[in-house]
Symmetry: C2
Subunit: 186 residues, 2 copies
Amino acid sequence: MPPATTHPTSEALVAAGIDVAEELGLSRMTIDAVVERAGVAKGTFYVHFRDRAAYLLALHRRFHDELRIGIAAAIDGLPPGASRLRLGAEAYLDGCLAARGVKALLLEARSERAIREEVRRSDARFSADAEGCFEALGYGDASASARLFVAMTAEAALAELESGKRRDDVRRALWRLVRLNEEEEV
Amino acid sequence: MPPATTHPTSEALVAAGIDVAEELGLSRMTIDAVVERAGVAKGTFYVHFRDRAAYLLALHRRFHDELRIGIAAAIDGLPPGASRLRLGAEAYLDGCLAARGVKALLLEARSERAIREEVRRSDARFSADAEGCFEALGYGDASASARLFVAMTAEAALAELESGKRRDDVRRALWRLVRLNEEEEV
DNA sequence: TGTACATCAGTGAACGCGCGTTCACTGATGTAC
DNA sequence: TGTACATCAGTGAACGCGCGTTCACTGATGTAC
């Protein structure tokens, strides 16, 4: 799937936004800061995005599309179950470590009015896949379990971002809690 | 422990803030909205709080002090272990359901610059107690496990707040994930 | 008991600033004839 | 090949508004003498 925005200036604006979000957080990611970083005039921003909300949405889509692509590649064809759940979560964590601007999007996206709904949808998507895995594993309350698992995985991603590197203790704790630790480390 | 603010007008301002946060969220909880709700002049706000940051801090303290008191009462004297962990989490969830303004504080507090540090401290406090329990239960990576557990519990609280009522499926899922489900429902 | 003064919560108009949004204009590129 | 016109990304000054913060002033209560 090609990126949603193809125009080079749109690209530059999105890239600049990710930079700024990484450095200052979403709430301080002002349009002034973005256009300054992108090296374009303020008016140019509105040539490419209807308003700030539309821009935030594009930013979030970009981030989550990349993440989903990585996860899809990791679990492609696997049946619902332990491997799918664990490899998916590993891909999520690895993707978060690799991407930029994640911390801001993970931490603040929920409270930004403009993308709250979109975040809910993304979470639901991850959660729906996990739910199938929990069902296959024989969990009752698979839906609730999946939701809690997604929350844990996001927290694990945050912990890794704070450390700036993979945290094996956190990952082990995660696998152990969902009883996926019987397998070898991947 | 008496409330940190004793003056009636301070009280009114804090109460008004909780109301407004509940209705509009933290980011739209402006000083205008707070003083209007409290029925005082805008200048009065600054008689009682140095600035918005100090006010947010007082709000968060109030919220978490209440929560901690409820939890402390529930687990007082219990040794680290399964009962303490589960009863503490139950008290946390019940407390969140009972308190007002929780959703805003749970959801947005992390991204509000003014109270981020305070939130971290609160989380660390809950987490430290949970860590002892996980150690007693023989978990490796007790610290990481505790952090993930706190994140799950917060997510469970959010799920309950969205439903507006206790969610037994979510609680069951939580207990099962940390293997506290052998006991009877409390 | 009465007068003068200090203290302090409370008031609300005014200020300043940050930030999202607009708009008239420019310049380059493409198309018609 | 040259001229006229349309299209469209880009520009940046200006605008408006929301919101946190300030400040000179008021009025009530308490204290000294």
